[in-house]
């Protein structure tokens, strides 16, 4: 059974990922091993809570990468190393781990929830992954160091919507990279802005990918985190409890899937 009670933890480190995304390393004071793709409710005291998927879990430390987009996130961005923060979770259902190969498709701040999966796979000596990652511009790419390391271990393709003078790689939306996909029998994980997910699914279906092999991590207003406050439903499902990761065939007929 669940409670809204949050646990106090310390910010061990903070750094800038991009001009509007910061990463926060915090002690896991809860002590429940999270599954890749799960999320926590992070609490800025006196300001409120936000649902954030974790990006990495190493030695009892959780990494959260947060874009400054609203009221609570703007206050999280003001926090410094050593500041207190509230945490509760982990909540929801994450990415499935099984024998299948994985094609990971991420947009912008969608990379951290894929990162937790990639790190878990690498820890069990699995590198049968292919990452397709897109961001608005080169300076909006997160986890640049991790991307460099991963590209030595498995196939990583990166693209940006708008190039700049430093960029020599792919330019265009992430679906432009789909011709690089070699594994039609893999499972496909998609996370990013809704418009990107919508077109990514459409493209995969046109490539005759089975809807049962497509997984989406959805986003709605998740306040409680365990299916009782009523805000985050998509049709009859609650994103916090039944998701955030859904197998596409289970939600494809819900009219409000993409708004």
């Amino acid at each position: 059974m669940n409670s809204l009670k949050s646990f106090e933890t310390l910010i061990l480190d903070v750094w800038d990922e991009t001009p509007d995304i910061k990463s926060f390393l915090v002690n896991d004071v809860i002590g429940i091993l999270p599954s890749p793709g799960q999320f926590y409710e992070l609490r800025v005291y006196g300001k409120g809570e936000i649902p954030i998927s974790y990006g990495s879990y190493v030695d009892g430390k959780l990494l959260f990468s947060i874009k400054n987009v609203g009221y609570v996130t703007s206050h999280i961005h003001k926090l410094k190393k050593g500041d207190k923060i509230g945490i509760r979770g982990p909540y929801g259902n994450g990415w499935e781990i099984d024998e299948r190969k994985t094609v990971l498709i991420g947009g912008g701040i969608g990379l951290p929830p894929l990162s937790s999966y990639i790190e878990r796979m690498l820890r069990i000596n699995r590198n049968d992954m292919h990452l397709l990652y897109g961001a608005r511009s080169p300076k909006d790419l997160v986890y640049k160091e991790k991307l460099r390391e991963w590209s030595k271990l498995f196939k990583v393709d990166i693209t940006v919507d708008n190039s700049d003078e430093t960029w020599t790689g792919n330019v265009g939306v992430v679906t432009k990279l789909f011709n690089k996909i070699e594994w039609k029998d893999a499972k496909f994980f998609i996370i990013g802005p809704e418009i990107m997910m919508k077109y990514a699914v459409k493209e995969l279906l046109s490539m005759n990918i089975d809807p049962k092999n497509i997984y989406l991590s959805m986003e709605r207003k998740m306040k409680c985190g365990y299916g009782i406050c009523g805000h985050c439903n998509i049709g009859r499902f609650y994103v916090c409890k039944d998701g955030p990761v859904f197998r596409y065939d289970k939600i494809e007929n819900i009219p409000e899937l993409f708004h």
Binding site: M1, N2, S3, L4, K5, R43, Y45, G46, K47, G48, E49, I50, V69, G70, Y71, V72, T73, E219, R220, K221, K223, C224, Y226, G227, I228, C229, G230, H231, N233, I234, G235, R236, P255, E256, H259
Partner: protein, 308 residues
């Protein structure tokens, strides 16, 4: 005679309530001016067996509470709730039971519901569970010179109770069928799959609705709540799916920006989604939503639209 069924005479009723008041806090229906409201009573004589203006939802699920303060969970008897309101709370519990704090509070609340003897102006409870419930602490049904009492929670037991006769038991057992003849049930069979996403009704309702949220607050099954905090307190409070901010996320992204989409959500949740997940409609047929609606949006019209 069957276990847990008794009879209490009208002349013993005030003494019975006084015996409960001696031991517990009793939150009961009483008259204030022309209204019947829930309040703590100090004497059994204050009690009136009538439908209250609002359901006592606040006692089981507070409209506003400070999460930083621990709750004072004393035993409370809620006496005189109508069956439809209690049925609504039982439905609400299919969701709230997953919360620790709710359960702690719920364990200390004891409900005694009263079965209506005639249909009310707004209710359509026979469409759902009906007037005689399966889940309660104590359930009272008016019979001749007293009440037939069903007891599930021993806190309500009393030595003033008498044995029931065979005709009382038969009256009780046939009561839901009898009441369904007075209040003809609407047909909700299969409505969870018949209610339509694409339907002009949602736009029509949106032209009338003023987004006040009264339907949500009056409803004994509406459980949605918000969590907020400021420098002084952390608050859990009732929320309303009719309000624009209900689904609005950081960055002003809102999956349900139009009033018609929010009205559709309300009726989809009541008549379809909750049933598909929990096997019960999110409605007890109390009629409080359209009783309180300033523009008379009537859930019965929605039910009839899909099931004639």
């Amino acid at each position: 005679m069957p276990d847990g069924i008794y009879f209490i005479k009208n002349e013993d009723f005030t003494d019975y309530l006084n015996s409960l008041i001696k031991k517990y806090r009793v939150y009961a229906t009483k008259r204030v001016g022309n209204d019947v409201v829930f309040d703590y009573i100090e004497s059994g004589s204050e009690f009136v067996d009538e439908r209250s203006v609002l359901s006592p939802k606040n006692i089981i699920f507070p409209a506003w509470k400070n999460l930083n303060e621990s709750e004072n969970n004393q035993e409370i008897i809620v006496f005189g709730i109508r069956s439809c309101d209690l049925s609504g709370f039982n439905i609400m519990e299919t969701v709230l039971k997953f919360d620790i704090e709710y359960n702690k509070r719920r364990d200390h609340i004891h409900f005694a519901n009263f079965i209506c003897t005639e249909p009310c102006k707004y209710g359509f409870c026979t469409t759902f569970e009906g007037v005689r419930l399966k889940e309660f602490g104590a359930q009272f049904l008016k019979y001749k010179n007293g009440y037939i009492v069903e007891i599930k929670d021993n806190i309500f037991m009393s030595n003033l109770f008498k044995e029931v006769s065979q005709d009382m038991v038969e009256f009780l057992n046939s009561y839901n069928d009898y009441f369904s003849k007075l209040m003809v049930p609407l047909n909700v069979k299969g409505i969870e799959n018949k209610i339509k996403w694409e339907d002009e009704i949602w736009d029509e309702l949106a032209k009338k609705c003023i987004s006040c949220g009264a339907c949500n607050y009056a409803c004994p099954t509406c459980f949605c709540f918000d969590i907020n905090e400021n420098s002084y307190e952390r608050i859990e409070e009732w929320d309303s799916c009719i309000m624009e901010g209900f689904t609005r996320m950081a960055g002003n992204i809102n999956p349900r920006p139009s009033l018609s989409s929010r009205l559709r959500q309300r009726f989809m949740h009541k008549l379809s989604y909750h049933y598909l997940t929990y096997g019960i409609h999110l409605c007890s047929g109390c009629g409080r939503c359209f009783e309180s609606c300033p523009v008379s949006i009537d859930i019965r019209d929605i039910i009839r639209r899909y099931n004639r």
